[in-house]
Symmetry: none
Amino acid sequence: MPDLHELIRQLRKDNDSKIVLLVSDGLGGLPLEPGGKTELETANTPNLDALAQRSVLGMSIPVLPGITPGSGPGHLGLFGYDPLEFYIGRGVLEALGIDFELGPNDVAIRGNFCTLDDKGQITDRRAGRIASEIGARLCEKLDQIELSGVEVFVRPVKEYRLVVVLRGEGLGGEVNDTDPQATGVPPLDPIARDEASQRTAELLKEFLRQAREILREDAPANFLTLRGIAKRPAIPTYEELYGLKAAAIAVYPMYRGLARLVGMDVLDAGTNLSEQIDRLGAVWSEYDFFFVHFKYTDSTGEDGDFAKKVQKIEELDAAIPRITALKPDVLIVTGDHSTPCKLRSHSWHPVPVLLAADTCRFDGSEAFGEAQCRCGGLGQFEAKYLMLYALAHAGRLEKYGA
Amino acid sequence: MPDLHELIRQLRKDNDSKIVLLVSDGLGGLPLEPGGKTELETANTPNLDALAQRSVLGMSIPVLPGITPGSGPGHLGLFGYDPLEFYIGRGVLEALGIDFELGPNDVAIRGNFCTLDDKGQITDRRAGRIASEIGARLCEKLDQIELSGVEVFVRPVKEYRLVVVLRGEGLGGEVNDTDPQATGVPPLDPIARDEASQRTAELLKEFLRQAREILREDAPANFLTLRGIAKRPAIPTYEELYGLKAAAIAVYPMYRGLARLVGMDVLDAGTNLSEQIDRLGAVWSEYDFFFVHFKYTDSTGEDGDFAKKVQKIEELDAAIPRITALKPDVLIVTGDHSTPCKLRSHSWHPVPVLLAADTCRFDGSEAFGEAQCRCGGLGQFEAKYLMLYALAHAGRLEKYGA
């Protein structure tokens, strides 16, 4: 039985259609009270509502019912990769999040500066939350470390957080964290979980030995722990899988990194939605598929700021006419997960989906919101199928069987 | 974990219930404009609407979201066989389509007469679209070919199209097409893709050698190419799987063939729906399950003739009282896929389903149409689960576990 990706490879066909995937991060929400409205339903969205009237709506389940996704799985699902099959390790996500260009031979690691006492036991797992400038300076020192046969990169993230990357042939990524998740005990040794990762563990041991030496005088940041040690997943690109030349127009590094992981060209996106759409128009003729990412519906949700999330949705709405003016064959507006202000966090609630195309079965929706999406023609479906809908509505899939 | 079929075998039980599956081919449609109605919604269907009021409705996804099925996968799904697991090769479907009774040891092949120049290169892949009578006469000549250890059948389909069947023990079906899909080049040799098909490839090579000799003087049809070489899938019958004695009442050969593939008795169906229902009544006491196929909602959809498809749906509606008069325990009305007039082709859009049974959870539907089915009690589900609903509503499935 062919799996989903084999099936797509068998059936895909090329044409001149243009597909836009507009991801409003954390779009889905919750009413604050029974009978109330969600953030999206509260927002005044005349453009999305008009679009809904010539669309088909639905609800997307990011991973599985009840499962709350992080940004990585949330986006992989939207991009058509089963997030349970393609796992992105924490180190990889952290590296993507600082625009580090990870190669297939790289092992990426999230590091935390920590404080050791003179017995070598951890007294502070976050090194007193040192200032970002101090972290950056210490990373420069660690970046000088040399290990035999591999390249070493050490990059600051923020405050006490950093990224370490080992680049070299044949390095496995299955190595345990060295953070003991406790104070009053020494850091753990890096232990390989498989044969292929023995050398990685040895190299990290040597890296940590040198780091301890280098940071000796830098208390409270006189050592570091390593976490989320991982290689990037072996993932087919948009070009290989769908035959789509794809562009990512995202402001935030992590989303740029996720797009890069699936082989999208990551374009200069400016600093806000208006500049992103300038870019979209400028490169319209050069690509088949455009991923446009809007961050602020997630961050306002995490802040629990209902009014602000509503306002951000209205900003998104205001940008819609400039996108529809480009006449995409398929325009999808959705989120990678819900981030209800009521919960101040990502959640498992299904995510509103709007798919506008001449080939869709208009479902009589009058507006874009959770209530309408719940009764929409796409029903509830796992996010990994969204790209099938995108391709189908764009005329990019052949019939299966005769 | 038991697969779907194992589970059914474990749980099925016999009783005297009667199940009717009325397949209106390509039933699902599209509104021509936002806010408009589909073909089914436009049609005046008082009988189906009355039936909907004592039914549960839903939407069936033939294969997977976004996947457009051919007739083979579309019907296999309705019959309860995962169309991704049970694949019907093109040669098999072509043989079924001319009512050829394929056995489990048969390799079926679709042939195209073609024209070769004196260098042996193809100049016309369809032999000038010769008349059907000429094709039939040439097939009679080729049917005389003898190959050692196997039977050979050559049957005309239409114009330049024919079917070749090799019948013999131990023949594999994994052989490449000989049609190079181009002119100005010679036909390809039949190449086996696995060990078990080496002999098939050798036999076909000899078949082609003799055919070239026989057709030497028959330009423009002085040779043929072979395509879609395949054996029928190893598929459990309705009797084995469900314990159902099943009858197919279908006018068109392909659907008769698909029914035969799953072990239904293929009955003389006459030439139109009225005669099909005469037959249904006549054999009512002899079977448990009845597959009745109505073709014209698909063909009018393929023609893009909205008014005509509406009219054909109304013809179907008019036949409903004669079916309900037989008092089936379960009556299902659905399609194998959508064929929207707007697209003039099969499509991926989910297909309206109506299931009438005393045991169903009536869902308050007032009419049979896409809008009502979208909100129906069965929700959206993969077609392969339809037979589970049929069996359940007929009281033919035991409880799972204690």
